[in-house]
């Protein structure tokens, strides 16, 4: 059965439907990771997005429980060059296409994904959809128009838990209270492996409710959407900074930055993949990192990028913030530390899942700081 991808600028890419037929609309993004398709699809940060895989073969080793980054698929569609439904791979519990279909994810294969990605690179990430071939293009256009643009979208609410979840209450480590804006299982696993008493709280939880948990640290998770649309969460974080150490990853990084008064902006087509070099400005160490974000922090001079490999400083509402990590690909901010109050965050994904483990030490670093505080 045929299907097509239509972008809001009217360009169309044909292929074949291979799971749920669609229509599925949202922001079309691409990831350059060469493995870990299921991890990406279940990463809550992809909520509201249609994922184009640049790796042409997808589904090669099937789908399995261990590759889940949350309890369900969050990407709305998979756009692929050549997808297979392999069921007999070692460790697989289902074929990839069956899994997509069961998860209600629209999927299209046979698409010239490279041409599509080049288009997005040149024009920027935009709204679009995956539609069954039989669906009239005019109708498809209306559906796309009806979808709100990513800028200004609060999607965290949709992926946040309804009730607090307390994990390992008897673990020996510090109590880390996470504001769950769509946390990945890999992050949860990393904290738990380190003996942390982790709690996941709805993103609407108030600062006082969180402080009432007597946390040793607050953790701001990854998640979908535009940080600028999460003023309610930002306000919560503002109420925490300076009172307890605050750490963040990805969306959490953006929220912490906004909470201390820094600006964020939308990247033209985001960072999604497993190969971005990030330099730690204190140690000179370069980690190859897993990335998945569409927004970034504005530098101290008001620019989106940082000119020199130096720990430049921002004056924030909570004192000085210092650039700690820099993306060597496009020189965007990848992490900062608060100098006058305890807190730090990174834009990339030290938990990997999918992607390289280079930056995994970051959990140890955070933990050491928490234990010191």
């Amino acid at each position: 059965m045929t299907a097509y991808v239509l972008l809001e600028d009217g360009t169309r890419w044909d292929g074949e439907a291979c799971a749920a037929p669609g229509p599925a609309v949202g922001e079309i993004v691409f990831t350059t990771g060469m493995s870990g398709y299921q991890e990406s699809m279940t990463d809550p940060s992809f909520a509201g997005q249609l994922i184009t895989f640049t790796q042409p073969h997808v589904g090669n080793y099937g789908a399995s429980a261990e590759a889940m980054e949350s309890d369900r698929a969050h990407g709305r569609a998979a756009i692929m060059r050549s997808a297979v439904n392999r069921e007999d791979a070692a460790g697989a519990t289902a074929g990839w296409l069956d899994w997509l279909a069961d998860s209600g994810v629209a999927a299209i294969t046979g698409v010239d994904t490279r041409a599509l990605v080049r288009h997005i690179r040149e024009r920027g990430a935009m709204r679009g959809g995956v539609f069954p071939g039989a669906l009239d293009e005019g109708r498809a256009r209306e559906l796309i128009e009806a979808e709100p643009p990513m800028e200004g979208r609060d999607l965290a609410r949709d992926v946040s838990p309804g009730e607090p979840i307390v994990l390992d209450p008897d673990a020996p480590g510090p109590r880390v209270v996470a504001l769950d804006t769509g946390i990945k299982d890999s992050i949860v696993r990393n904290w738990r492996e380190r003996g942390v008493r982790l709690e996941l709280h709805p993103c609407g939880a108030s600062a006082s409710a969180l402080l009432a948990r007597e946390p040793d640290a607050i953790f701001l998770a990854n998640g979908p959407g535009d940080p600028a649309a999460l003023d309610h969460v930002v306000a919560t974080v503002r109420g925490l900074v300076g009172k307890v150490p605050v750490y963040g990853i990805c969306l959490g990084h953006l929220l912490l930055c906004r909470a201390v008064g820094l600006e964020t902006y939308k990247l033209p087509f985001g960072h999604r993949g497993a190969n971005h070099p990030v330099k730690d400005l204190a140690t000179g160490r370069i980690d190859i990192t897993s990335q998945n974000h569409g927004f970034a922090v504005v530098g101290p001079d008001g620019e989106g990028t940082i000119a020199a490999d130096e720990p430049v400083r921002w004056e924030t509402d909570f004192g000085v913030a210092e650039l700690s990590q820099l993306n060597l690909y496009d020189r965007t901010v990848e992490g900062l530390v608060l100098r006058d109050v305890p807190g730090a965050a990174v834009q990339y994904h030290p938990e990997a899942g999918p992607g390289p483990h280079d930056a995994n030490h970051l959990f140890d670093d955070f933990l050491a700081e928490i234990e010191r505080a």
Binding site: R86, N275, Y329, H357
Partner: protein
């Protein structure tokens, strides 16, 4: 940390001749390194014995020594040049071993030379298998269990411990020679015995088998700041048990989950840190059991390798170039990625396409050799193909292979399945046929252990080879980043896609300048090697200098031509008509050059012309005139030049009749193959019948060529330039071996050492006559045979020949570049050609044969070419140059000891002369009874030894016992298992020089006699070309 200013002069070691397991990839890597170091302002000194390399072009180093890669000559170079550092990681195993020797014997320290790129300890930890396992275990990694054995009893005991099958690895043999897989107790006895014998210290390592597990390679780079990146993952479609060099491989890996892949990535990083390679690239090999997630480390190479060249071509990440920068102090983050320009080298390429590498084998040339694939490498070349999907890449790789004939595959299911029980060179053809015959993925997985994902793709491919080629051809670029950033380096591949907004030209950024398309030579194979790539690279340089865009089309990942730096635009494509036309369509070139890539592009000349494509240089008709036996015969007759009498026959009876008119002995060959394939000398009707029956040359009424075989003729090779009006002789080479030994396998001398001025004048005249008669515009190679006073034309090739690089190195005149200028329209008169190119030095080219890799093959030279590579020796006089060439080829001539001689009756007189000379300088002479009698009659003192049939101790015992230092054996009749065969086999196995022609033996004797203890003085090419060869010092 930026460039090291404490270093000024850096010594680089090349890898020497092309041999199985060490091919053009080291020229590619070496050229990149030389270029980078020169750019960085270092003085570069290079040693490499291989004249067919681009790296030994004088402009790629300040001082270029075409000398044997042996401690003696390299020590001389060090003493003379006093480099500050030695970079040993670019010349394969050869350079690494040599560097290790020079470090261990104190040479480097004595001369204050620092090893950069990898230090001695790191080299040891990686190369010494014992030390490596200890290092891995200490780092918490798993390696296969193993036991060291020095006797068969040890081996039996190990069997209990390890269980069968067992991998046998002889200690200290190159490239796993003499090792293998033992699946049964009997096989273990056999393989272990062979391995113990092959090992110079009589020791083998018996290793736990992980046959059938997945085999994966990761290319890792590390810098001084301990930052590490993985450039590429490579998955072997053939599971463990088939050497990676012989496996079909895919990049990036396709079947591991993210968790499994990241585990490999973590381990690869642990390995490079544990081994302690401080800067540069390494290749780490793993075996993975996908069912259990078990991983074992197989080996690591602390240097650039075949796989790193492949990874570079597959990703656009130039590993060698970056390794060279890292070695002189830079960090990864300080080096820009050439392709995106905006990103640093400290990143990992993301691929949005699939790369397939296919090995190319040459078993047809070694009929006695087992074509089973095992733990040591047997392929002689490879192709790489890039596709948007596995099937596209696989299909393109198949097209790139250019097999002479499709593999002979059985048709019934049982036979097909039986054939898959052991991996063989033709396994994919068999696999595809089995799918067509209805075999299931499960059955074939059971048999081959190939991952079902690949099997399913192959199944679909078997049923619909064009399935994934639906849609329209469009060109996409290799950009290291899956289109995340704009690429500036134009490196393209064709993809078949649903037509989208981009159109056929796809991503090709073709400016306004006119372009010239140069067709490369495809996979390296015996008969068409790196020499042709050398010529293509020179063509690209020349086209660029002329103000046009040079466009390269080739599919060989090993080569310099497929470095994206070599041309303005690189199309990584198969060299078939259809694929080339695809490139022509988007390029709209001024013309296409088919003269430099050997027979591969030449074959395309006529169809391209027919398709309306303009060819530069020699016309299609002129090519046909040279290649069509009848037309060429008529031309020679018209010019009044002699050629051996010949006939063209059809079928067996016709052949026997025609043979009478030509007269025996005859050289018989099928008309449809090239490169001396299936060519044989026959002495009688019976011989001829037997040959025709055996070779199938006359099957289906095909044409057979019969030439009178000129006995005891001196063969001459000439390379010349012609612009259609005028010809110029680039070099005349006299062969050391007589005609009948393929020109590619014969040693040759430039200038000729024993031809008179009249004969040379005649050669010049005839070459000029043929060049003008054919209407050559560009290069021409003519082969002659001289019998007495008479000159015979053997053949003329209107294209670059194998000897062009050798001649260019010997004379300093860049023939290929000049030819390219002629093809672009300049007359010879504009080229400023010297009248006589020969200086006061002698150059010798020697062929390097793969007999030591193909145990079981007969180490005899004949009209069918079997060498894989060549070396060059340069000196003031012929014997010295010959000795250097021999040493460089791996047959270091002894200066004392025992010579064993056994020759045919007709060679006995000559043998006596040789024996007398060697006897005079103190050699002990040993001969078989007949030869001994003849020698004694001529007054030469010698001992006689038993033939094999006469019982032990016989000659083979003597050789295997290490009592012989040189073997001279000319063949008596053909066929396997003769004494001659056994003698040659034993000599090859022990690495003893074995000379099989009288002329070769004479040259060797002269070389031995004129040799001196300290070895001949080393010469830099830059001095040789200036005519500044130092006078020999008095003895």
């Amino acid at each position: 940390m930026p460039r090291r200013d404490d270093l000024n002069k850096i010594l680089i070691l090349g890898s020497g001749p092309i041999v199985i397991g060490q091919a053009a990839e080291f020229d590619y890597s070496g050229v990149q390194a030389c270029k980078v170091l020169l750019e960085e302002g270092y003085e570069v000194v290079l040693v490499n014995s291989n004249p067919a390399t681009i790296m030994t072009d004088p402009e790629f180093a300040d001082r270029t020594y075409v000398e044997p890669l042996l401690p003696g000559p390299v020590t001389q170079v060090i003493a003379r040049e006093r480099p500050d550092a030695l970079l040993p990681t670019l010349g394969g195993q050869t350079a690494l071993n040599l560097a290790k020797t020079l470090a261990e014997d104190g040479t480097l320290e004595r001369h204050g030379v620092e090893l950069i790129g990898a230090d001695l300890d790191a080299i040891r930890r990686a190369e010494d298998r014992d030390l490596f396992r200890d290092t891995m275990v200490a780092a918490g990694l798993r390696v296969p269990r193993s036991v060291i054995a020095t006797t068969l009893d040890d081996a039996g005991a190990a069997r209990e411990e390890l269980g069968l099958p067992i991998i046998v690895r002889p200690a200290f043999t190159l490239g796993g020679r003499g090792g293998g897989i033992a699946r049964t107790a009997e096989e273990l006895d056999e393989v272990a015995a062979r391995g113990l014998k092959a090992s110079p210290i009589g020791q083998v390592l018996l290793e736990e088998s992980v046959l059938g597990w997945g085999e994966f390679e990761l290319e890792v780079m590390r810098d001084r700041n301990d930052n590490v990146v993985i450039v590429c993952s490579i998955e072997n479609v053939d599971p463990m048990g088939v050497h990676t060099g012989d496996s079909v491989t895919v990049a990036p890996q396709q079947t591991l989950t993210d968790r499994q892949y990241q585990a490999l990535r973590d381990q690869a990083i642990t390995v490079i840190r544990a081994v302690g390679v401080e800067t540069g690239g390494s290749n780490v090999q793993f075996a993975v059991n996908p069912r259990t997630d078990e991983i074992v480390v197989i080996e690591m190479n602390p240097r650039v390798s075949r796989s790193s060249a492949l990874a570079s071509k597959a990703t656009g990440f130039p590993i060698a170039k970056i390794a060279a920068r890292l070695a002189v102090g830079y960090a990864l983050e300080e080096i820009p990625n050439d392709i995106t320009r905006v990103t640093p080298a400290s990143f990992e390429p993301a691929l949005d396409y699939v790369v397939v590498k296919w090995p190319r084998f040459a078993f047809e040339k070694f009929p006695d050799v087992d074509d089973g694939l095992t733990t040591h490498m047997k392929s002689v070349g490879e192709v790489m193909a890039i596709g948007r999907t596995f099937q596209q890449a696989f299909g393109k790789a198949l097209r790139s292979l250019e097999l002479d004939a499709p593999p002979d595959v059985p048709s019934d299911m049982d036979a097909l399945l039986a054939r898959l029980e052991r991996p063989r060179a033709d396994r994919y053809a068999v696999l595809l046929e089995a799918f067509r015959a209805g075999a299931s993925v499960d059955t074939l997985h059971e048999l081959t252990s190939i991952d079902p994902w690949y099997l399913r793709e192959l199944e679909r491919f078997a049923h619909a080879p064009d399935g994934d080629f639906a849609g329209a051809r469009t060109f996409k670029s290799v950009d290291t980043c899956a289109a995340e950033f704009a690429a500036t380096t134009p490196y393209y591949y064709s993809a078949w896609e649903r037509p989208g907004p981009s159109g056929a030209r796809g991503e090709v950024a073709r400016g306004e300048r006119p372009s010239v398309v140069i067709l490369g030579s495809g996979p390296n194979r015996i008969g068409q090697g790196i020499e042709f790539d050398y010529c293509c690279v020179h063509a690209a340089m020349t086209v660029r200098e002329s103000g046009r865009d040079a466009v390269m089309v080739n599919c060989n990942p090993e080569t310099v031509s497929t470095d994206y730096d070599t041309s303005d635009r690189l199309y990584f494509e198969p060299l078939t008509l259809e694929d080339v036309l695809g490139v022509v369509e988007v390029e709209q070139p001024e013309g296409v050059i088919v003269q430099f890539g050997g027979q591969t592009p030449l074959k395309l000349a006529a169809p391209l012309a027919q398709a309306g494509v303009a060819l530069l240089g020699t016309s299609v008709d002129a090519i046909d005139l040279a290649e069509d036996r009848r037309r060429f015969g008529e031309l020679l007759a018209r010019l009044g030049y002699r050629a051996p009498p010949y006939a063209i026959a059809q079928g067996l009876d016709d052949a026997v009749e025609a043979a009478q008119s030509v007269g025996y002995p005859l050289l018989a060959r099928p008309s449809y193959v090239l490169g001396g394939r299936a060519m044989e000398i026959v002495y009688s009707d019976d011989d001829l019948r037997a040959y025709l029956a055996r070779s199938g040359a006359a099957h289906g009424g095909r044409e057979i060529y019969l030439d009178r075989f000129l006995e005891r003729a001196v063969e001459i090779d000439v390379d010349a330039l012609c612009d259609g009006e005028e010809a110029w002789i680039g070099g005349i080479m006299q062969h050391v071996e007589e005609a009948g030994v393929h020109s590619g396998d014969s040693a040759c001398v430039l200038p000729p050492h024993s031809l008179g001025p009249e004969m040379l004048a005649q050669v010049r005249d005839q070459v000029t006559g043929i060049a003008l008669g054919l209407g050559v515009v560009g290069l021409l190679n003519v082969q002659f045979a001289v019998v007495g006073e008479h000159l015979y034309v053997i053949e003329a090739n209107p294209r670059a020949s194998r000897t062009v690089p050798f001649v260019s190195k010997a004379t300093g005149v860049p023939l290929a570049k000049l030819a390219c200028r002629v093809m672009l329209g300049e007359p010879l008169s504009a080229l400023d050609l010297p009248t006589e190119a020969n200086g006061d030095h002698v150059s010798v080219k020697e062929a390097v044969l793969p007999f030591d890799r193909f145990l079981g093959s007969d180490a005899l030279l004949g009209p069918e070419m079997r060498s894989t590579g060549e070396v060059m020796g340069i000196a003031r006089d012929f014997p010295t140059a010959f000795a250097k060439a021999q040493a460089a080829a791996g047959a270091v001539l002894p200066q004392s000891g025992t010579v064993f001689i056994t020759v045919t009756d007709r060679d006995k007189d000559s043998a006596a002369g040789i024996a007398a000379q060697l006897g005079d300088v103190g050699f002990r002479i040993v001969a078989t009874r007949g030869t001994a009698r003849a020698l004694s009659r001529m007054g030469v003192r010698c001992d006689s030894v038993n033939k094999i049939a006469e019982g032990s101790p016989h000659v083979v015992d003597l050789i295997e016992g290490g009592e012989v230092d040189l073997v001279v054996n000319t063949p008596t009749g053909s066929g396997a298992r003769t004494d001659g065969y056994e003698i040659r086999r034993a000599a090859v196995a022990r690495g003893i020089p074995c000379i099989t022609t009288v002329s070769g033996a004479f040259a060797a004797a002269r070389a031995i006699i004129s040799a001196r203890a300290e070895g001949p003085p080393v010469l830099a090419l830059q001095d040789v070309h200036r005519g500044a060869v130092p006078e020999p010092q008095p003895r």
